[in-house]
Symmetry: C2
Subunit: 344 residues, 2 copies
Amino acid sequence: MSDRTEISSLGEFGLIDHLTKNIELQNASSVVGVGDDAAVIDHFGKQTVISSDMLVEGVHFDLMYTPLKHLGYKSIVINISDIYAMNAIPTQVILNIAISNRFSLEAIDEFYSGVYAACEHYGVDLVGGDTSSSQQGFIISVTAIGEVAPGKFVKRSTAEKGDRICVSGDLGGAYIGLLFLEREKKIYLENRKIEPDLESESYVIGTLLKPEARKDIIEFFEVQTLVPTSMMDISDGLSSEMLHICKESGLGCVIHEDKLPIAEEMRSAAYKFQIDPTDCALSGGEDYELLFSLSQNDYDKITLNEDISVIGYTSEIETGTRIITKGDSTYPITAQGWNAFKKV
Amino acid sequence: MSDRTEISSLGEFGLIDHLTKNIELQNASSVVGVGDDAAVIDHFGKQTVISSDMLVEGVHFDLMYTPLKHLGYKSIVINISDIYAMNAIPTQVILNIAISNRFSLEAIDEFYSGVYAACEHYGVDLVGGDTSSSQQGFIISVTAIGEVAPGKFVKRSTAEKGDRICVSGDLGGAYIGLLFLEREKKIYLENRKIEPDLESESYVIGTLLKPEARKDIIEFFEVQTLVPTSMMDISDGLSSEMLHICKESGLGCVIHEDKLPIAEEMRSAAYKFQIDPTDCALSGGEDYELLFSLSQNDYDKITLNEDISVIGYTSEIETGTRIITKGDSTYPITAQGWNAFKKV
């Protein structure tokens, strides 16, 4: 970008005005939006669902290979994914950011263009937030708000024995995308004349940089009058999330390796890194697909949806959490999910 | 503290479990709390009020003179203050933190002890949040959630001409507290043998480090069946907030210097710094008192409350925003509020 406007030239209120001046509220539930001490929301008898997450530069994202517009989009998506994971519909978001003076107004505008694109795509209103300075880096905190008919939310702890275990979409792509971009970054830092070839791996890179939340699956449930017995979104990896559901529901499970949904593009990319695609599908994080359990009686309904895979079933807690491989061996499932505090 | 437990020894889920294991939900509206993809709240026909703010180490607080327990308490207080400023009652909070490995588990426990003390004092439930690592410093993002009877929320933009302008409590203490602590820090860094004398200025220091939100004023309104015509909390200084209300309500105002509520302790501390106490009251931030406008007809009711001062009245927009000094001179009110992006 050729122009650079310092954030300090606008001041905090000037910046907020600049970033929020074109907001048009889309939801009747957004009673008061940006510009007061707080937002006011009326879900008209429905229950309110709220989730909040923080993204920290250098921990959750690397701006060397993450375009700011994608980062803005993803910040919203991963938070409303938590709302869908409760079987609810997202209606509003609140966005707090802290930025160092390394960032220009033009850079923040790029970020917000992604935020607004996600808000438009998912029909949610940005109703508040806070911008402040940071000493170092870019920190993002998003609160997503949604609504659900009373009692229709779906928790992690309510799976029952003999339920089918299902996932939406394909797994493991985001992890391979991350490996690929990290490798290209290293090569580039060693020799800045080598342009990375991103085109060939556009599937896995896209999965990492521009994930989508599974609005369509929640809408499919609604149309089919299906209510999963338990559900969560896959942000830390299938194994880790499966263990959460089993632990909190007091159950065991059996997962079949040959049922794991793996895209061909992910499989071939994994082989290039000499990694087992099954490992990626089990332990790679950031897929933002939905993992849910379903009563056997509802099994017929989901066969209508090609984007849902049945990967196993829940069992008694005594049988443990197991995976049966293609070679018919049985192994325990262990959490290999991403740990923000683990020293690498 | 003698013991030091590394956060990394617990992992993210272990840390969240440790920090939230003793939560007992206090409000019937807290349907699902910590431990799922999202919290579920049912305000049973009331409207939901939501506000979120970020606090960044080195920008909003200095751990050299801010005890972690006070910081935890203040993080909650300043956010629920925004809920009260809408004439609503806070019911839940969500807390996200990002911390560098400089912080031990014991330090985080200190911080949380303040968080829980504030939650208990104000009757709010901690229902969610996210802990992650940061590359540098301590970053806090709090989302406060509250409820209000439909249409009973009070905005900034709805003051009317001829309304009385009122503030709760005393003004300017937090600013003088900050000046004092900054001075003592500088002296200490120059000569670490000099112990700062904090006792003598405990009033202004307390105002800065352990502010309270004006729950009592909102309860007083309820008892008196009073609804202010506009309201906001004073976080950036009286002048700045007064200009917000006037601008957004399309009005001017007259403030009387001799009506500004100033505590004796603040006045004498200001003189030690050779600063005009009126300047502190007008421009000092972080008081978290309530600024509101009231119809003349309601004037009698507030005389019952010694903690509310009438400091002026609203006027036509053409007359501008003015202060009349003790010497009967008239000056325009200018925003000297705190600007997070202003280079100092």
